[in-house]
Protein backbone atom coordinates (compact mmCIF):
# COMPACT_ATOMS: atom_id res chain seq x y z
CA UNK A 1 0.00 0.00 0.00
CA UNK A 2 2.85 2.39 0.81
CA UNK A 3 4.21 1.98 -2.73
CA UNK A 4 0.78 2.91 -4.07
CA UNK A 5 0.71 6.07 -1.94
CA UNK A 6 4.14 7.09 -3.29
CA UNK A 7 2.81 6.37 -6.78
CA UNK A 8 -0.18 8.62 -6.15
CA UNK A 9 2.16 11.36 -4.84
CA UNK A 10 4.20 11.19 -8.05
CA UNK A 11 1.02 11.21 -10.17
CA UNK A 12 -0.16 14.36 -8.42
CA UNK A 13 3.25 15.99 -8.90
CA UNK A 14 3.24 15.21 -12.63
CA UNK A 15 -0.36 16.43 -12.94
CA UNK A 16 0.66 19.71 -11.24
CA UNK A 17 3.54 20.17 -13.71
CA UNK A 18 1.33 19.39 -16.72
CA UNK A 19 -1.56 21.48 -15.38
CA UNK A 20 0.82 24.40 -14.81
CA UNK A 21 2.10 24.05 -18.36
CA UNK A 22 -1.43 24.19 -19.74
CA UNK A 23 -2.18 27.29 -17.65
CA UNK A 24 0.91 29.08 -18.96
CA UNK A 25 0.63 27.95 -22.57
CA UNK A 26 -3.16 28.04 -22.95
CA UNK A 27 -4.82 30.38 -20.47
CA UNK A 28 -2.03 32.97 -20.17
CA UNK A 29 -1.58 34.11 -23.78
CA UNK A 30 -5.21 33.72 -24.87
CA UNK A 31 -7.05 36.97 -25.60
CA UNK A 32 -10.57 37.15 -26.94
CA UNK A 33 -9.97 40.83 -27.66
CA UNK A 34 -8.03 39.82 -30.76
CA UNK A 35 -11.26 38.57 -32.32
CA UNK A 36 -14.00 40.71 -30.78
CA UNK A 37 -14.00 44.15 -29.19
CA UNK A 38 -14.85 43.30 -25.57
CA UNK A 39 -14.21 44.87 -22.19
CA UNK A 40 -10.91 43.71 -20.53
CA UNK A 41 -12.94 42.64 -17.49
CA UNK A 42 -15.06 40.28 -19.62
CA UNK A 43 -11.88 38.99 -21.24
CA UNK A 44 -10.50 38.17 -17.76
CA UNK A 45 -13.81 36.59 -16.77
CA UNK A 46 -13.67 34.31 -19.80
CA UNK A 47 -10.11 33.32 -18.87
CA UNK A 48 -11.26 32.54 -15.32
CA UNK A 49 -14.01 30.26 -16.66
CA UNK A 50 -11.44 28.53 -18.88
CA UNK A 51 -9.07 28.12 -15.91
CA UNK A 52 -11.87 26.73 -13.72
CA UNK A 53 -12.77 24.29 -16.50
CA UNK A 54 -9.14 23.11 -16.62
CA UNK A 55 -9.14 22.72 -12.81
CA UNK A 56 -12.35 20.65 -13.08
CA UNK A 57 -10.70 18.36 -15.65
CA UNK A 58 -7.59 18.19 -13.44
CA UNK A 59 -9.63 17.05 -10.41
CA UNK A 60 -11.57 14.59 -12.61
CA UNK A 61 -8.34 12.99 -13.87
CA UNK A 62 -6.96 12.89 -10.31
CA UNK A 63 -10.11 11.12 -9.12
CA UNK A 64 -9.73 8.54 -11.89
CA UNK A 65 -6.05 8.01 -10.99
CA UNK A 66 -7.03 7.64 -7.33
CA UNK A 67 -9.71 5.05 -8.17
CA UNK A 68 -7.24 3.15 -10.32
CA UNK A 69 -4.44 3.13 -7.72
CA UNK A 70 -6.52 2.46 -4.62
CA UNK A 71 -9.31 0.40 -6.19
CA UNK A 72 -9.33 -2.22 -3.42
CA UNK A 73 -9.49 0.28 -0.56
CA UNK A 74 -12.07 2.72 -1.87
CA UNK A 75 -14.65 0.00 -2.40
CA UNK A 76 -15.17 -0.44 1.34
Amino acid sequence: MTVQIYGFLCSMWILILVGGGLMVLLVGPISFRDYVDIDPLINSGAKIILALFLIFIWVFILTKVKNWIFKAQIKS
Binding site: I5, L41, S44, K47
Partner: protein
Protein backbone atom coordinates in the same frame (compact mmCIF):
# COMPACT_ATOMS: atom_id res chain seq x y z
CA UNK B 1 24.27 38.89 3.03
CA UNK B 2 25.87 39.13 6.49
CA UNK B 3 22.79 40.96 7.84
CA UNK B 4 20.54 38.23 6.45
CA UNK B 5 22.56 35.47 8.12
CA UNK B 6 22.43 37.33 11.46
CA UNK B 7 18.66 37.84 11.07
CA UNK B 8 18.18 34.15 10.24
CA UNK B 9 20.10 33.03 13.34
CA UNK B 10 18.35 35.53 15.65
CA UNK B 11 14.78 34.82 14.51
CA UNK B 12 15.37 31.05 14.50
CA UNK B 13 16.58 31.27 18.11
CA UNK B 14 13.62 33.48 19.14
CA UNK B 15 11.13 31.10 17.48
CA UNK B 16 12.65 27.94 18.93
CA UNK B 17 13.38 29.04 22.49
CA UNK B 18 10.15 31.01 23.03
CA UNK B 19 8.09 27.89 22.23
CA UNK B 20 10.54 25.61 24.04
CA UNK B 21 10.26 27.70 27.22
CA UNK B 22 6.57 28.63 27.03
CA UNK B 23 5.05 25.22 26.23
CA UNK B 24 5.86 23.49 29.58
CA UNK B 25 4.27 26.44 31.41
CA UNK B 26 1.23 26.18 29.13
CA UNK B 27 0.98 22.42 29.79
CA UNK B 28 0.84 23.11 33.55
CA UNK B 29 -1.71 25.94 33.21
CA UNK B 30 -4.00 23.93 30.91
CA UNK B 31 -3.74 20.91 33.21
CA UNK B 32 -4.59 22.98 36.29
CA UNK B 33 -7.65 24.41 34.53
CA UNK B 34 -8.66 20.91 33.43
CA UNK B 35 -8.46 21.91 29.75
CA UNK B 36 -7.59 18.36 28.71
CA UNK B 37 -8.89 15.86 26.14
CA UNK B 38 -8.57 12.09 25.94
CA UNK B 39 -5.91 10.60 23.68
CA UNK B 40 -8.12 8.00 21.97
CA UNK B 41 -5.17 6.02 20.60
CA UNK B 42 -3.81 5.14 24.05
CA UNK B 43 -4.76 2.34 26.44
CA UNK B 44 -6.71 3.55 29.43
CA UNK B 45 -7.86 7.10 29.90
CA UNK B 46 -4.80 9.21 29.00
CA UNK B 47 -5.68 12.90 29.20
CA UNK B 48 -3.61 15.48 27.30
CA UNK B 49 -3.73 19.30 27.69
CA UNK B 50 -5.11 21.28 24.75
CA UNK B 51 -4.81 23.75 23.00
CA UNK B 52 -1.13 24.38 22.47
CA UNK B 53 -1.85 26.95 19.79
CA UNK B 54 -1.05 29.74 22.26
CA UNK B 55 2.66 28.89 22.42
CA UNK B 56 2.73 28.28 18.64
CA UNK B 57 1.33 31.71 17.80
CA UNK B 58 3.64 33.37 20.35
CA UNK B 59 6.66 31.68 18.73
CA UNK B 60 5.67 32.65 15.19
CA UNK B 61 4.58 36.21 15.96
CA UNK B 62 7.52 37.03 18.27
CA UNK B 63 10.09 35.81 15.74
CA UNK B 64 8.34 37.47 12.78
CA UNK B 65 8.22 40.79 14.70
CA UNK B 66 11.99 40.52 15.28
CA UNK B 67 12.39 39.80 11.56
CA UNK B 68 10.24 42.85 10.76
CA UNK B 69 12.73 44.98 12.72
CA UNK B 70 15.47 43.71 10.39
CA UNK B 71 13.41 43.97 7.19
CA UNK B 72 10.34 46.24 7.51
CA UNK B 73 8.49 44.91 4.46
CA UNK B 74 4.72 44.48 4.02
CA UNK B 75 5.10 40.73 3.31
CA UNK B 76 6.29 40.06 6.88
CA UNK B 77 3.52 42.25 8.28
CA UNK B 78 1.00 40.18 6.28
CA UNK B 79 2.47 36.97 7.76
CA UNK B 80 2.15 38.34 11.32
CA UNK B 81 -1.47 39.51 10.97
CA UNK B 82 -2.66 36.43 9.06
CA UNK B 83 -1.07 34.11 11.64
CA UNK B 84 -2.86 35.93 14.47
CA UNK B 85 -6.17 35.79 12.58
CA UNK B 86 -5.71 32.07 11.84
CA UNK B 87 -5.05 31.47 15.54
CA UNK B 88 -8.18 33.46 16.46
CA UNK B 89 -10.36 31.26 14.23
CA UNK B 90 -8.81 28.14 15.76
CA UNK B 91 -9.19 29.25 19.38
CA UNK B 92 -12.91 29.99 18.79
CA UNK B 93 -13.31 26.43 17.47
CA UNK B 94 -11.29 25.05 20.40
CA UNK B 95 -13.55 26.78 22.92
CA UNK B 96 -16.80 25.90 21.17
CA UNK B 97 -16.78 23.40 18.26
CA UNK B 98 -18.39 25.09 15.25
CA UNK B 99 -20.01 23.60 12.12
CA UNK B 100 -18.09 22.30 9.13
CA UNK B 101 -18.39 25.55 7.16
CA UNK B 102 -17.21 27.86 9.96
CA UNK B 103 -13.47 27.31 9.55
CA UNK B 104 -13.24 27.61 5.73
CA UNK B 105 -15.37 30.78 5.69
CA UNK B 106 -13.63 32.40 8.68
CA UNK B 107 -10.19 31.49 7.31
CA UNK B 108 -11.10 33.10 3.97
CA UNK B 109 -11.37 36.41 5.83
CA UNK B 110 -7.89 35.82 7.28
CA UNK B 111 -6.53 36.45 3.78
CA UNK B 112 -7.68 40.10 3.96
CA UNK B 113 -4.31 41.47 5.22
CA UNK B 114 -2.53 40.03 2.17
CA UNK B 115 -4.92 41.81 -0.18
CA UNK B 116 -5.06 45.05 1.84
CA UNK B 117 -1.28 45.28 2.19
CA UNK B 118 -0.78 44.34 -1.46
CA UNK B 119 1.72 41.72 -0.35
CA UNK B 120 1.28 39.53 -3.42
CA UNK B 121 2.25 39.26 -7.05
CA UNK B 122 -0.55 38.33 -9.43
CA UNK B 123 1.85 36.26 -11.57
CA UNK B 124 1.58 32.56 -10.80
CA UNK B 125 4.93 30.82 -11.33
CA UNK B 126 5.05 27.28 -12.69
CA UNK B 127 8.09 25.04 -13.18
CA UNK B 128 9.40 24.54 -16.74
CA UNK B 129 6.78 26.78 -18.38
CA UNK B 130 7.32 30.19 -16.74
CA UNK B 131 4.58 32.33 -15.23
CA UNK B 132 1.06 33.34 -16.06
CA UNK B 133 -0.54 36.69 -15.23
CA UNK B 134 -4.04 36.13 -13.82
CA UNK B 135 -4.83 39.24 -11.68
CA UNK B 136 -8.51 38.55 -10.96
CA UNK B 137 -8.19 34.80 -10.65
CA UNK B 138 -5.19 35.22 -8.37
CA UNK B 139 -7.17 37.35 -5.90
CA UNK B 140 -9.67 34.49 -5.68
CA UNK B 141 -6.79 32.09 -5.23
CA UNK B 142 -5.53 34.11 -2.23
CA UNK B 143 -8.94 33.93 -0.59
CA UNK B 144 -9.05 30.14 -1.11
CA UNK B 145 -5.42 29.40 -0.26
CA UNK B 146 -5.55 30.21 3.49
CA UNK B 147 -8.64 28.03 4.21
CA UNK B 148 -7.19 25.20 2.14
CA UNK B 149 -3.79 25.37 3.87
CA UNK B 150 -5.39 25.71 7.32
CA UNK B 151 -7.83 22.86 6.92
CA UNK B 152 -5.27 20.64 5.19
CA UNK B 153 -2.88 20.85 8.14
CA UNK B 154 -5.79 20.54 10.57
CA UNK B 155 -7.02 17.37 8.85
CA UNK B 156 -3.66 15.63 9.27
CA UNK B 157 -3.53 16.41 13.01
CA UNK B 158 -4.83 12.95 13.95
CA UNK B 159 -1.90 11.23 15.65
CA UNK B 160 0.71 12.27 18.19
CA UNK B 161 3.25 14.66 16.67
CA UNK B 162 2.02 14.46 13.07
CA UNK B 163 0.90 18.08 12.55
CA UNK B 164 3.97 19.70 14.10
CA UNK B 165 6.45 17.18 12.66
CA UNK B 166 4.91 17.34 9.21
CA UNK B 167 4.86 21.15 9.10
CA UNK B 168 8.50 21.17 10.31
CA UNK B 169 9.53 19.00 7.34
CA UNK B 170 7.45 21.04 4.88
CA UNK B 171 8.74 24.36 6.23
CA UNK B 172 12.39 23.37 5.96
CA UNK B 173 11.75 22.12 2.40
CA UNK B 174 10.09 25.46 1.62
CA UNK B 175 13.00 27.39 3.19
CA UNK B 176 15.48 25.52 0.96
CA UNK B 177 13.26 26.17 -2.07
CA UNK B 178 13.08 29.90 -1.29
CA UNK B 179 16.87 30.03 -0.91
CA UNK B 180 17.22 28.32 -4.32
CA UNK B 181 14.91 31.00 -5.75
CA UNK B 182 17.00 33.69 -3.96
CA UNK B 183 13.99 35.02 -2.03
CA UNK B 184 16.01 35.34 1.16
CA UNK B 185 13.72 37.52 3.32
CA UNK B 186 10.78 35.14 2.97
CA UNK B 187 13.13 32.15 3.39
CA UNK B 188 14.07 33.58 6.80
CA UNK B 189 10.37 34.19 7.54
CA UNK B 190 9.77 30.49 6.81
CA UNK B 191 12.51 29.59 9.29
CA UNK B 192 10.34 31.19 12.00
CA UNK B 193 7.60 28.66 11.21
CA UNK B 194 10.07 25.78 10.90
CA UNK B 195 11.72 26.40 14.28
CA UNK B 196 8.42 27.11 16.03
CA UNK B 197 7.00 23.79 14.86
CA UNK B 198 10.27 22.00 15.65
CA UNK B 199 10.22 23.28 19.25
CA UNK B 200 6.54 22.38 19.62
CA UNK B 201 7.22 18.91 18.21
CA UNK B 202 9.39 18.19 21.25
CA UNK B 203 6.23 18.24 23.41
CA UNK B 204 3.78 17.02 20.77
CA UNK B 205 5.70 13.93 19.65
CA UNK B 206 4.66 10.46 20.80
CA UNK B 207 3.60 10.27 23.63
CA UNK B 208 2.12 13.76 23.40
CA UNK B 209 2.34 16.02 26.43
CA UNK B 210 0.18 18.62 24.67
CA UNK B 211 -2.08 18.79 21.61
CA UNK B 212 -1.96 21.85 19.30
CA UNK B 213 -5.75 21.89 18.94
CA UNK B 214 -7.48 23.71 16.10
CA UNK B 215 -5.78 26.93 17.18
CA UNK B 216 -2.33 25.37 16.70
CA UNK B 217 -3.10 23.49 13.49
CA UNK B 218 -4.84 26.48 11.89
CA UNK B 219 -1.99 28.80 12.94
CA UNK B 220 0.47 26.42 11.27
CA UNK B 221 -1.71 26.19 8.15
CA UNK B 222 -2.53 29.91 7.86
CA UNK B 223 1.13 30.86 8.32
CA UNK B 224 2.23 28.28 5.76
CA UNK B 225 -0.41 29.53 3.29
CA UNK B 226 0.50 33.21 3.66
CA UNK B 227 4.21 32.42 3.23
CA UNK B 228 3.38 30.56 0.01
CA UNK B 229 1.57 33.64 -1.31
CA UNK B 230 3.97 36.41 -0.25
CA UNK B 231 6.97 34.29 -1.28
CA UNK B 232 5.44 33.57 -4.74
CA UNK B 233 5.98 29.84 -4.18
CA UNK B 234 2.36 28.65 -4.25
CA UNK B 235 3.03 25.59 -6.42
CA UNK B 236 6.17 24.55 -4.51
CA UNK B 237 4.39 24.99 -1.16
CA UNK B 238 1.51 22.82 -2.36
CA UNK B 239 3.91 20.09 -3.47
CA UNK B 240 5.69 20.12 -0.08
CA UNK B 241 2.42 19.25 1.70
CA UNK B 242 1.11 16.79 -0.91
CA UNK B 243 0.52 13.94 1.61
CA UNK B 244 -1.74 16.26 3.64
CA UNK B 245 -3.49 17.40 0.45
CA UNK B 246 -4.00 13.75 -0.51
CA UNK B 247 -5.53 13.17 2.92
CA UNK B 248 -8.00 16.03 2.41
CA UNK B 249 -8.71 14.97 -1.18
CA UNK B 250 -9.42 11.35 -0.18
CA UNK B 251 -11.59 12.51 2.72
CA UNK B 252 -13.63 14.94 0.58
CA UNK B 253 -13.99 12.55 -2.35
CA UNK B 254 -15.32 9.82 -0.03
CA UNK B 255 -17.55 12.02 2.17
CA UNK B 256 -18.53 14.24 -0.81
CA UNK B 257 -19.30 17.31 1.35
CA UNK B 258 -17.52 19.70 3.71
CA UNK B 259 -18.02 18.38 7.22
CA UNK B 260 -16.15 18.66 10.50
CA UNK B 261 -14.15 15.44 11.01
CA UNK B 262 -15.79 15.07 14.43
CA UNK B 263 -19.10 14.60 12.60
CA UNK B 264 -17.91 11.52 10.66
CA UNK B 265 -17.31 7.94 11.75
CA UNK B 266 -13.75 7.20 12.87
CA UNK B 267 -12.14 5.43 9.88
CA UNK B 268 -9.83 3.40 12.15
CA UNK B 269 -10.30 1.11 15.14
CA UNK B 270 -7.91 -0.70 17.52
CA UNK B 271 -6.60 -4.24 17.84
CA UNK B 272 -6.23 -5.88 21.26
CA UNK B 273 -2.61 -4.70 21.49
CA UNK B 274 -3.84 -1.18 20.57
CA UNK B 275 -2.45 -1.09 17.07
CA UNK B 276 -4.54 0.83 14.56
CA UNK B 277 -6.51 -1.10 11.97
CA UNK B 278 -9.08 -0.12 9.34
CA UNK B 279 -12.62 0.15 10.67
CA UNK B 280 -14.89 -2.84 10.09
CA UNK B 281 -17.89 -0.73 9.11
CA UNK B 282 -18.88 0.69 5.74
CA UNK B 283 -19.39 4.30 4.64
CA UNK B 284 -16.43 5.66 6.58
CA UNK B 285 -14.16 8.36 5.14
CA UNK B 286 -11.00 7.25 3.33
CA UNK B 287 -7.97 8.94 4.85
CA UNK B 288 -4.20 8.75 4.51
CA UNK B 289 -3.91 6.83 7.79
CA UNK B 290 -6.54 4.35 6.61
CA UNK B 291 -4.55 3.70 3.44
CA UNK B 292 -1.29 3.24 5.38
CA UNK B 293 -2.87 0.59 7.61
CA UNK B 294 -4.89 -1.04 4.79
CA UNK B 295 -2.67 -4.11 4.57
CA UNK B 296 -1.99 -4.74 8.24
CA UNK B 297 -2.50 -3.06 11.62
CA UNK B 298 0.34 -0.75 12.63
CA UNK B 299 1.33 0.98 15.85
CA UNK B 300 0.86 4.73 16.15
CA UNK B 301 4.64 5.18 16.00
CA UNK B 302 4.91 3.19 12.75
CA UNK B 303 2.15 5.24 11.11
CA UNK B 304 3.68 8.54 12.21
CA UNK B 305 7.07 7.44 10.82
CA UNK B 306 5.42 6.52 7.51
CA UNK B 307 3.69 9.92 7.27
CA UNK B 308 7.02 11.65 7.95
CA UNK B 309 8.66 9.58 5.19
CA UNK B 310 5.94 10.71 2.81
CA UNK B 311 6.52 14.29 4.00
CA UNK B 312 10.26 14.04 3.32
CA UNK B 313 9.57 12.54 -0.12
CA UNK B 314 7.22 15.40 -1.07
CA UNK B 315 9.71 17.88 0.43
CA UNK B 316 12.35 16.54 -1.97
CA UNK B 317 9.84 16.85 -4.86
CA UNK B 318 9.27 20.49 -3.78
CA UNK B 319 13.02 21.21 -3.83
CA UNK B 320 13.36 19.56 -7.27
CA UNK B 321 10.45 21.75 -8.43
CA UNK B 322 12.29 24.84 -7.11
CA UNK B 323 15.30 23.91 -9.28
CA UNK B 324 12.93 23.44 -12.23
CA UNK B 325 11.57 26.99 -11.76
CA UNK B 326 14.74 28.37 -13.33
CA UNK B 327 14.44 26.11 -16.38
CA UNK B 328 12.10 26.96 -19.24
CA UNK B 329 11.20 24.51 -21.99
Amino acid sequence: MEEKIIAAVVVSAVAFFSVYALTPILIKVLGRRNLVVQDVNKKGSVMVPRPGGISIVVGIVASEIVLYLFFPISEILAIIITSILGFSVGIIDDRKPMGGWFKPVALAFCAAPILLLGAYDSNLDFPLFGSVSIPFLYMGLIVFMIPIAGNTINSIDVLNGVASGFITIASFALTISLIILQNYEIAIATLCLAFTSLAFYKYHKLPSRIFPGDSGALTFGATYGVIAIVGHVEVIAAIAILPAIINSFLFLSSVKKIVEHRETKNPVSHTDDFKLKTGDYKNVPITLVRLIIAKRPLSEKQIVTEIFRLGIFSGVLAIITAFMMGVEV
